[in-house]
Structure formats: structure tokens, C-alpha cells
């Protein structure tokens, strides 16, 4: 069966990331004497072209049939090194990685201890590698089309890109209209363009696109399948030329899913010091949008003499569990403050801030314009609001004046931040989407995979991944569309090769694996009375293998002997 192991071991320095804490030379020398090891080397960056070339050349010259790289997490570079092994003629599945960076050099300071641990991890990897069997890459066809959950700007833009590339896109919107939060806005920064001038057009493009189907008052009820072939069950009403259809259940077959479920506006009742809900003079930026749209800034029938904006309401706040910046409030405040100045030139406008974060294109210029329009910026985080006669008093320290002020105001606008929606829990569970510490959905990698998720074929668009302004939301939505379009345009997706397999000699046909499998992969062969696995359905979780009383069913690449070999060397 398996050939006699000829293993190449490669220890990566990762610059100084590993080498500063782990004695890579010692680990290399140590690895040379392990059973089956033909060669052991160390190199600055194994993932670089020359690093990969080392593997390829050794594999060819020395006839390696197994490769072990000790470097970063396999979640990072397993595909890289599998490809390199393959180019060197080694079956990519006879490659094993020892994670001596994330799980060693980065978490331990002591060089001796870290080196000892790195050695142990290398032994285990070598032990497993020696027992790995060759496997074939597999691909399956892709159902053309994508489901987009959420019909805000992010969802609509992503759906349009999918549709423009020739694939059906299905928008599943919870409410009774498209447009999301942006539909509640009046004008957008920094151009002060009325939303009414562009959002209806976008909605119209979506609704009239032959490739797009919109479901309103709709929810995703069930998701089955995997990347390339999802079956999404939607309950809701389909929009057609003649209007909204009857509510019903729709089954959609698609290759990818884009999550664009948006955000929740922070509820300022949770900051009792501002008296929101208590004083009619205290409103949120969202309420201010409506007032600006209606041109009604009066309080108690009177034009306000002084309008105060308070930033960071619900953001940058550890006590609330919202440590992050909401990214848009500085610009929204600058916008609304300017609009107040334009509408009521005699009204004083003051913005209280901690840091002014006007970072986007034309953002700083916009902030400049706000100040030039007469908006007064004062540095200080408002501490409380109380009543004085008809007005309210804003109590705040001006940190430059180094003085606590009691500023009287007629209208106070709270720049409320964004929060993760908790009503998306169901979708998170259906799609197995993890959340990051701030509650927003977690991307696969914060830098280089900002729209991918831990689930293949499921992508993130817009503020469900974190607060964003409209241009950034659109860019990210289109990025999600690009990720979704890759499998759709290719027509195939790779699927795992590490699936369960039955040894018919050992199988007693008890059917326990059939019962335990959540994916319906194993089935009893009526002719032979033994279990057989449909490899397309199998996801390699291994539930069957543990359950099987005769150990007849095992998962390739995670066979008991491969695991126990690691246990063996690790406890020595």
C-alpha cells in the first residue's frame, strides 16, 4: 500500500517571527534523525519562491514522498505548501504542517521551552506524515446563481454585480422595501447629494434587472448543501412585475451566498446621562436626518438658537461593550452641522468630539468646510444633560480650555453608532458564521480576506462585518460579489478529499454510521449489507468513525493510526 516514507522536513524562520524564539538550527538537526526523514533544512521564508523551490528540488532530487513544513498555521499556508509538494512530484495530501509560529514562537518567550515544544510538534508532524496516504483532488459542478441576504445598498450592489456577470441573483429582504438604512437618510456626505437622487435609481436597476429576483418580508428558513451547491429555503413574498406575491416558501438552488444583513443603530437609552427619551430637545442623528429632510428644526415651535452635536454615543465605549469606532459618525455630524448652518444662519452650532475622524476621500476637506461654515468644534466628551427652563444644559469639559462648561442648547443631536444586529443569530447559526469580539461577523482574514468567511461559498458585504460608510460598503459589497463570482464563473469548485471511507471487510452493516451522519453520506448497500459513503455528501467530520463499533469506517487523513501516532510521540 503506502510507500516507504522518504520525508523532507523544512523549518521556517519566518524572518525573526520564529527564529527569534525557536532555535531553528537545533530543530533542524533534531529532525534529521527522525525515522523516515531523508533531509531537514531551515530557511528564512519557506513560503517565498526560493523557499518553495527548496521543497520542489529536494523532492525531485531525493525522491521524497512526504513533506513536512514547520512554520505558521496550516490555515495560513497549507495550500501553498501542498502546491509546492505537488510540483515536486509529491502527492499534496502527503504533506503535513507543524504550527510552530501561532502555537509556539508567538505564545512563548523562553527560547529553550519554545525550542523543545517546536521539536515535539515536528516529531508529531513527521509521525503523521509517515502514515499519510495519497489522495486525489476533487471538484464538483456549481449551480449558477447567488442568494444575497439583505436588500440594503450592500445587498443590492452585490446582487447587481452577480447579475451583470450573467447569473441569477436572489435578494432576500426582511422588511417590505429595498434600500435599508440609507433609505432613511436625507443627504449623504461629503457631496451633500440628496439620497432621493440616486437611491431610487439603484432600486429601480435592481428591480428591473432580468437576472435579479427580490423577496420582501422574507427570511432565510433553511440552508443545505455546501459551496457550489446550496439549497436555500426562503419564506416570504416574491416581487414580480405585477407587485408583491403571496407569502410562501421558495426553494433556491445557488452556488454562493452573500450576507449583507447590515447593522443596528445604537439605542441611546443605554446612555442615561444624556436624557434621551426624557427631553424632547435630545434627538439622534437619524431623527435629525428626518428633520433636515422635512426642513423642520424647530423645538416647541421656535427656531433653535443653539444646536449641539455629541459624538461617540455608543462607540469607543468599553463599558457598553462597544470598544470600536463606528466610523461614520464624525462625517454625519459634520454634514448635519453644516446643513443646520445653511438652513439657519443665525443658529449657533457646536460639535463636541474626542478625535475628529474624517479620513475618507474628501473627508478632511469636508471637516474644514464645516468649520468654515461656522460650526464650532470643541474637544470634550459630553458628560451629562439636564434641564434648565425651556432649554437643556450640556455639561462638558472643554479639554483645551481645561474648564467644565454648562452649555445651554435648544437641540442636542446624539451621533449614535452602529452595533451588530442580534436578530441575525438565526442566519449566523444556519450558515455557521462566527462573530468577532465586537459582535460583527468575522471575516476569514482581517487583511487579505476581508469578505470571505470560515464557510466556503459564504461571503460578507457591508456593515454586517463592521461599521462602514457608503463608498466603503459599496466597495466591499462588490468585493463580496467578486468572491462569489469566482466559483460561478469557473463552473466548478474543489471539494475536500479527506472524506470517510468504509473497509467492507470490517463493516458489519450495523448502520450506526448512517444514523449518526448529519449529511446523509453513508448508506447501507442493500446487496452487500455493508455501508458505502457518497463522497460528494461527506464533509469529513468524523462522527461516523468514532461511532463505528468495528472501526470499519474511517476518515482519510484523520485515521486512528495517524492520530495515535501523534499521541504516541507527543507524550513520550
Amino acid at each position: 500500500m503506502a510507500s516507504r516514507p522518504r520525508i523532507g522536513v523544512y523549518i521556517c524562520h519566518c524572518g525573526t517571527n520564529i527564529a527569534a524564539t525557536v532555535d531553528v538550527e537545533a530543530v533542524t538537526e533534531f529532525a534529521k534523525n527522525l525515522p523516515g526523514v531523508v533531509i531537514a533544512r531551515h530557511y528564512t521564508y519557506m513560503c517565498s519562491e526560493p523557499g518553495q523551490a527548496l521543497i520542489k528540488e529536494d523532492a525531485r532530487k531525493l525522491g521524497l514522498n512526504r513533506v513536512v513544513v514547520a512554520s505558521c498555521s496550516p490555515r495560513m499556508h497549507e495550500p501553498t505548501f501542498r502546491a509546492a509538494s505537488q510540483e515536486g512530484g509529491v502527492n499534496p495530501y502527503q504533506f503535513e504542517m507543524a504550527n510552530i509560529r501561532e502555537q509556539c514562537s508567538w505564545v512563548h518567550h523562553d527560547r529553550d521551552e519554545a525550542t523543545a515544544k517546536a521539536k515535539a510538534l515536528v516529531v508529531a508532524a513527521v509521525a503523521k506524515a509517515a502514515r499519510l496516504e495519497p489522495l486525489e483532488d476533487r471538484e464538483v459542478g456549481v449551480t449558477p446563481g447567488a442568494v444575497v441576504i439583505g436588500g440594503g445598498v450592500a445587498g443590492m450592489v452585490a446582487a447587481l454585480d452577480v447579475a451583470e456577470a450573467g447569473f441569477p441573483a436572489y435578494i432576500v429582504e426582511k422588511s417590505d422595501h429595498l434600500g435599508g438604512h440609507v433609505a432613511d437618510l436625507n443627504r449623504t456626505f461629503p457631496d451633500l447629494e440628496p439620497v432621493a437622487e440616486w437611491l431610487p435609481g439603484l432600486i429601480e436597476r435592481v428591480q428591473s434587472h432580468p437576472n435579479i429576483t427580490v423577496f420582501l418580508n422574507a427570511q432565510v428558513a433553511r440552508v443545505e448543501g455546501y459551496v457550489g451547491n446550496f439549497e436555500v429555503t426562503v419564506s416570504g413574498s416574491k416581487v414580480s412585475g405585477s407587485g408583491l406575491g403571496e407569502p410562501g416558501t421558495h426553494s433556491l438552488q445557488v452556488g454562493a451566498i452573500i450576507v449583507a444583513t447590515g447593522y443596528k443603530v445604537f439605542d441611546p437609552h443605554r446612555k442615561p446621562e444624556f436624557g434621551y427619551g426624557l427631553y424632547p430637545q435630545v434627538i439622534t442623528t437619524l431623527e435629525m436626518e428626518r428633520r433636515l429632510a422635512e426642513g423642520d428644526l424647530a423645538v416647541d415651535g421656535k427656531e433653535p438658537e443653539h444646536v449641539v452635536f455629541i459624538k461617540c454615543v455608543g462607540s469607543r465605549d468599553k463599558q457598553l461593550g462597544n470598544p470600536y469606532c463606528s466610523r461614520v459618525c464624525c462625517m454625519i455630524s459634520a454634514k448635519q452641522a453644516q446643513l443646520v448652518r445653511q438652513a439657519l444662519p443665525d443658529t449657533r452650532v457646536t460639535v463636541f468630539y474626542i478625535d475628529v475622524r474624517t479620513f475618507g476621500k474628501r473627508g478632511e476637506e469636508f471637516y474644514d468646510e464645516a468649520r468654515r461654515s461656522g460650526v464650532r468644534y470643541r474637544r470634550g466628551n459630553v458628560s451629562e444633560i439636564y434641564r434648565r427652563g425651556d432649554r437643556v444644559v450640556v455639561r462638558v469639559e472643554d479639554t483645551f480650555l481645561r474648564r467644565t462648561l454648562e452649555v445651554e442648547a435648544d437641540l442636542v443631536v446624539l451621533a449614535v453608532g452602529m452595533e451588530a444586529r442580534q436578530d441575525t443569530d438565526e442566519i449566523a447559526t444556519l450558515l455557521k458564521l462566527p462573530r468577532s469580539a465586537d459582535g460583527f461577523f468575522l471575516e476569514a482574514h482581517p487583511k487579505l480576506r476581508p469578505v470571505d468567511t470560515a464557510m466556503d461559498g459564504v461571503f460578507l458585504a457591508g456593515c454586517c462585518q463592521g461599521p462602514k460608510d457608503i463608498p466603503d460598503t459599496i466597495a466591499q459589497a462588490r468585493a463580496a460579489a467578486a468572491s462569489a463570482l469566482i466559483p460561478l464563473l469557473r463552473g466548478t469548485v474543489p471539494v475536500i478529499s479527506e472524506t470517510a471511507v468504509v473497509d467492507p471487510e470490517l463493516c458489519a452493516g450495523c448502520g450506526m454510521c448512517v444514523e449518526v451522519c448529519p449529511f446523509g453520506a453513508p448508506a447501507l448497500d442493500p446487496l452487500w449489507g455493508v455501508s458505502r459513503v457518497n463522497a460528494v455528501l461527506c464533509k469529513g467530520c468524523g462522527a461516523c468513525a468514532v461511532t463505528c463499533p468495528s472501526k470499519a469506517i474511517q476518515v482519510r487523513h484523520f485515521r486512528p493510526d495517524q492520530i495515535l501516532a501523534q499521541v504516541d510521540v507527543l507524550v513520550e
Binding site: N381, S383, E384, Y386, R395, T404
Partner: protein, 377 residues
């Protein structure tokens, strides 16, 4: 160095997180004394962060802090700014640079177990003839009377009202009598950590030895330190407002009389802002037959401090302007209330003085919730 101050605070058992500060000013903006005195805690934090603290000896305003902890409650970064003041005060205490009146109070606590300069033997004199048993005999509820209610004449009336109410409700309670010693809440807040530790070392075993499952305090200050800083085992600590609310809910405390008056309520910082006990005092007041309950504007999380905490009972403060208590009693009067209800001996003292100074005696009476409850029995 910033690191030294942070380290000192840590040693003192304070949760100060100096390095987390982003200088937003929320602390100083909410500080009740920041308008009337030179104290600016945000700026102190900054000076500590950039190693620019001046000589502390000249900073009399450090003693202005009432330890109301509004800054702690509101700080978005959980820096706990007031604890910097406590740390700095502890340095002053170490070097003996403290206001004389505070020194006297501390000495009295050390010698007599109370800050008011009275003799320990007289601590339970107020209770004579009231049929209150010693907790030593065993009891369900240990009532911690507190220093001010034990000695101060005005507050003794509150203590007596409490005894009456507890008895009427059939509570099995006892007191520690002359064994009762200052809880040390203010001691810790003026930075006398050594004395506070001593009080805890002696007090904790004493309190636990009673074996009562519940302790009820008259003062929110005692309540605060027992609850958070004594780590008492097998004993639930309640402020009396929580206890009364519970008795009312359980139907154990009933009223036969009426109090036909308009009443408003002032939240004590150590009960409200610091321990989030807002609803129980209001529930008790609203349960009293006849009471017409009205609210002031600045209540609950936004309540105004009376300036009695953090050692301010023993230190006038550098404030040259109007006292906050003056402002407060006017606010109370404006609601049309006849009674300004309090739930703290310090608030009682500060606000009653203010009523007198402001000439509001005809319109407004300061009463403890206990007195109103007793009146309705």
C-alpha cells in the same frame, strides 16, 4: 512615571487603568465639583500619563473630590479616574500632608472607632430602652447602624425610626453596640490605606462571627465598602432601602397610617451611581399611603452629588462658590415637594444644612425614608 502611579494604584487594590485614557474629558465634564473648584481629574490623568505631575503638596483641590464616582461610572474606557485621586491622596497621607480636620477624623476612628470624636462606650447610647438585642445573641439580620446615626443627634432619630420599622415588621435583628466600629469607607477614599486595612482585618471576622445571613446598613457608604471591599463570606449585604422594599413586597411591612405629603427623593451617590440601587428607594416611598411622589430633573444616573462623601464631611473644600447642596434643595423645592427624602446620613446632613442656609425651612423638610416609613406605621 506613569508606570509607578499605575503600579501604586494596583498595590492599593484599585482598578485604575491610567494607560487606557484617551483624554475625552467625560470624567471632568461630569465631576460635580469641577466647575466650583480647581480639581480636574482628566487633567490629573494626563499629567500622570506624560510625567508632568506637579508637587502634590500644593494641590489642596485633591481633597475636593467627593468620591461620588460619576467619573468612574461614565468613563467610556473604564479608566476609573477617581482612583487616581485616591492613589495621590494615599501618597499625601504617607507623607502626612493632609488637612487637619481629616487628620482629626482619622485619629478618632483609630482611637474610638468613629470619625466624630465621640467615645466608643457611648456608641449604643441612642438605643437604650428601645428593646434592641445584641447581635451576639444570634439574629437573622445584623443591622450595621453606622457612625453618624449612632452619634449625630439628627441621625439618631433615623436610627430610632429604623428600629421601630424593623420591630414592626417582625424582623429578627441585632446590633453590635459598642463593638461596632467605623466601616472605613471614607478612610479608604481619603487614601489612608493602612488604617482601612486594619479596620477590615478587625471588622471582617467580627461581622462574620455574628453568623447572620443578612447585614443591613443604614448608610450607603457602609453598604458600599462591605459589599465590595470586605469580601464577607456567608453574608448578604443590603442597604436598608433594598431591605424595606423586600419586606414590603413580601407583605411583611404594612402601613396603618398615612403621610399626606408631596415627597421627592435625592439619590445618594454611593447607593445610586455606584451600586445602581435606584428603584428600591422609590418603591418604598411610593408604597407609603398618602405620599405624592414627584421627581426632580437630575435623578438616578444623573443625580447631583451633595458633596458629603470621600472625606468631605470633614473637609470644607476649596470651593468659594455656591455649594451643590444649595442648588439641590432649590431643585427639590421647585418640584413643589414638601419633603426631600434621603437615604444617607451624609446627604441628610449636607441637605438639611442647605435648607437652613437657603431659608427654605418653611417650604422643605429633609427626612430620611426611614422616618417617613415610621410615620406611616
Amino acid at each position: 512615571m506613569q508606570a509607578d502611579i499605575q503600579e501604586l494604584a494596583k498595590e492599593l487594590g484599585l482598578g485604575l487603568d491610567l494607560l487606557g485614557c484617551i483624554q475625552c474629558g467625560k470624567c471632568t465634564g461630569g465631576c460635580p465639583v469641577s466647575i466650583t473648584t480647581a480639581l480636574n481629574v482628566r487633567f490629573l490623568v494626563y499629567e500622570a500619563l506624560v510625567d508632568a505631575l506637579p508637587d502634590l503638596g500644593g494641590m489642596e483641590e485633591l481633597w475636593d473630590c467627593t468620591c461620588c464616582f460619576t467619573c468612574v461610572e461614565r468613563c467610556p474606557k473604564d479608566v476609573r479616574p477617581a482612583e487616581l485621586i485616591i492613589s495621590l491622596r494615599s501618597q499625601l497621607v504617607e507623607s502626612g500632608k493632609i488637612p487637619g480636620t481629616i487628620g482629626d477624623a482619622l485619629m478618632s476612628i483609630f482611637r474610638q472607632g468613629n470619625p466624630l470624636g465621640f467615645a466608643r462606650e457611648d456608641r449604643a447610647a441612642w438605643a437604650e430602652g428601645l428593646g434592641i438585642k445584641s447581635a451576639r445573641e444570634g439574629c437573622e439580620v445584623l443591622w450595621f447602624v453606622g457612625c453618624v446615626p449612632s452619634y449625630d443627634m439628627r441621625s439618631q432619630a433615623v436610627a430610632k425610626a429604623a428600629a421601630k420599622v424593623f420591630q414592626a415588621a417582625g424582623v429578627d435583628f441585632g446590633i453590635l453596640g459598642t463593638e461596632e466600629t467605623c466601616c472605613g469607607n471614607e478612610v479608604r477614599r481619603v487614601g489612608e490605606m493602612g488604617l482601612f486595612e486594619m479596620l477590615v482585618e478587625e471588622g471582617k471576622p467580627l461581622l462574620e462571627s455574628v453568623g447572620a445571613p443578612t447585614m443591613v446598613t443604614t448608610s450607603p457608604h457602609c453598604f458600599n465598602t462591605f459589599k465590595h471591599e470586605y469580601n464577607l463570606e456567608g453574608m448578604e449585604v443590603l442597604h436598608y432601602t433594598q431591605f424595606l422594599a423586600r419586606l414590603i413586597e413580601e407583605g411583611k411591612l404594612t402601613f396603618s397610617g398615612k403621610v399626606e405629603r408631596v415627597v421627592t427623593y435625592h439619590d445618594p451617590c454611593f447607593l445610586g451611581k455606584q451600586n445602581h440601587v435606584f428603584d428600591e428607594p422609590r418603591a418604598v416611598l411610593q408604597a407609603i399611603p398618602g405620599v405624592k411622589f414627584v421627581e426632580m430633573d437630575r435623578i438616578r444616573e444623573r443625580s447631583l452629588c451633595c458633596e458629603g462623601g470621600g472625606g468631605r464631611m470633614w473637609f470644607e473644600g476649596t470651593n468659594t462658590e455656591e455649594r451643590l447642596a444649595f442648588q439641590r434643595v432649590h431643585e427639590a423645592a421647585e418640584t413643589g415637594a414638601e419633603v426631600l427624602a434621603v437615604a444617607c446620613p451624609f446627604c441628610m446632613s449636607m441637605l438639611e444644612d442647605a435648607v437652613k442656609v437657603q431659608g427654605l425651612e418653611d417650604r422643605l423638610k429633609v427626612m430620611d425614608i426611614l422616618e417617613l416609613v415610621a410615620e406611616a406605621m
